[in-house]
């Protein structure tokens, strides 16, 4: 058979398949809608987590080499700045600086902010720089007043002098930056204490050795390496986390129903159709080819539409459907648009998880029906 004849034959088979599908319009429309939704959901989670992990890995490459926390009874506690002197003595450590940061719950807007002291603060006392999420929640603009209750119960007013860039809100949405003196006054933190210490190390390959020395010399501390910071978001949406498990369980159950429906055999109408086709001269291979096209039309259509929809959902609409889930009870949620990342591996995994099982489960019962006597099939 020449190629052009083969193509012609496949077109006739597709024509026949489409007519067959359209005769059971309701059933197949419902099937394609559910199938597309499953692919859409799986692809959305896959695209979102992969893009987020990559973005986290990129931007957190700027995280400190080592952060040293003090632990008291298993809890993160304020660290004496004198610890910096001990750490500075360790060979390979080029700089140690105390970092000041903490949380502030705003009773007016019910939002949690992260209050930080940058190494270089470009504004004066009584002035703050706020992240885009804070500005949005409080309606702040430049020169607006941001009231903050101190830990002594006194209301202090800060002038908003800078709005942090909106493009970086994935890391800065809830930030309030202020001077060290203001921070210590608001949270009543003495001069000799800091939230944690931030280290710079000459050779990144020495990080584990330096961390081990810190743990040895200051046993009540916990060093956190930059590699650990970057790895955190690799596993943050692992298969065991709630979102992924919920989606996986739903999808697996849906696929079990699909596979059961298809593998448990064909409907009487479908069997009669196969019987008639065989009676008028169709070969078993023709019937199987037609059923292959039936599986392909349903699964490939659902796959393509589902994946394209997921791409638009995650990368063009900022994962709108996931927002209520990710936001939880938080007032501040960053409005971010992830940098798209799609590769052949992701698409292959999705394809083998969705298209292949459905197509196979369509062909097997058809092959069984197509190999028996047409007379018996039609009489059954």
């Amino acid at each position: 058979m020449t190629i052009s004849r083969w193509i012609q034959k496949q077109r006739y088979l597709i024509e026949m398949t489409l007519s067959s599908l359209l005769r059971r319009k309701g059933k197949y429309t419902a099937l394609i809608v559910v199938y597309t939704s499953i692919v859409f959901l799986l692809a959305s989670v896959m695209f979102f987590t992969e893009a987020l992990e990559r973005e986290a890995r990129t931007v957190l490459s700027g995280a400190p080499d080592i952060v040293v926390q003090k632990l008291v009874a298993g809890r993160h506690d304020l660290i004496p700045t004198a610890y910096a002197e001990t750490i500075r003595e360790i060979r390979g450590v080029t700089a140690v600086r105390p970092a000041l940061w903490g949380y502030y719950f705003d009773p007016v807007f019910g939002a949690n902010y992260t209050v930080m002291v940058p190494e270089v603060f470009e504004h004066g006392p009584g002035e703050v720089a706020v992240g885009p999420g804070v500005a949005k929640a409080t309606g702040s603009e430049i020169d607006y007043i941001l009231p903050i209750w101190t830990s002594k119960g006194k209301l202090t007013s800060f002038f908003v002098k800078e709005l942090l860039a909106s493009e970086s809100q994935l890391v800065s949405a809830d930030l309030i930056l202020m001077s060290e003196a203001d921070f210590r006054a608001v949270f009543d933190i003495p001069e000799h204490l800091a939230t944690n210490l931030v280290l710079e190390v000459r050779n990144p390959r020495e990080l584990p050795v330096i961390a081990a020395k810190i743990s040895d010399q200051l046993p009540d501390t916990r060093p956190i390496l930059r590699t650990e910071v970057q790895r955190t978001y690799d596993s943050v949406f692992s298969w065991r986390s709630g979102l992924v498990v919920a989606v996986l369980i739903g999808s697996v159950l849906a696929f079990i129903i699909f596979a059961w429906d298809r593998a448990s055999g064909l409907s009487a109408e479908e069997r009669r159709e196969i019987g008639i086709l065989k009676a008028i001269g169709w070969e078993t291979s023709d019937v199987i080819q037609m059923k292959f096209w039936e599986g392909t039309v349903v699964s490939l259509t659902s796959f393509l539409v589902g994946v394209l929809g997921a791409y638009a959902h995650v990368f063009l609409t900022s994962s709108t459907l996931f927002e209520p889930v990710l936001k939880g009870w938080a007032v501040i949620y960053p409005e971010f648009r992830l940098v798209p990342f799609v590769d052949a591996y992701q698409i292959a995994v999705l394809f083998f998880l969705t298209v292949v099982p459905y197509t196979v489960s369509t062909i097997v019962p058809s092959w069984r029906a197509a190999t028996i006597d047409p007379d018996a099939v039609m009489r059954a």
Binding site: L22, L60, G62, P64, V67, L71, N112, E228, L326, V331
Partner: protein, 98 residues
Amino acid sequence: MKRSNVYLAFLTAALVLFGAMFVHAAVIRRRSAPRLERTTEMVRRLDLTDLCLFTEARYTRHPVMADVNSLFQDSPLSLEHYPTGSLMAPPDHLEGRR
């Protein structure tokens, strides 16, 4: 027009869009590089350690900096009550210490 032609036209259009998806992703990735560089610079300047994804609980706002025993931290019967706490897995460096 034959149904098979309509379907094949649809399939071709979907496959073209599928290819366009990869091209779009590559273009946006290249265009976003300066923005990511500026964000990385902000992370470096402010010594940030976490993404601002979940702001409702401190161990989800800063999972890197969370206590070792964050789960059930308030009492053995204090079940997770923040929705995002059940969304994300604890970081590797905390799991390794348990």
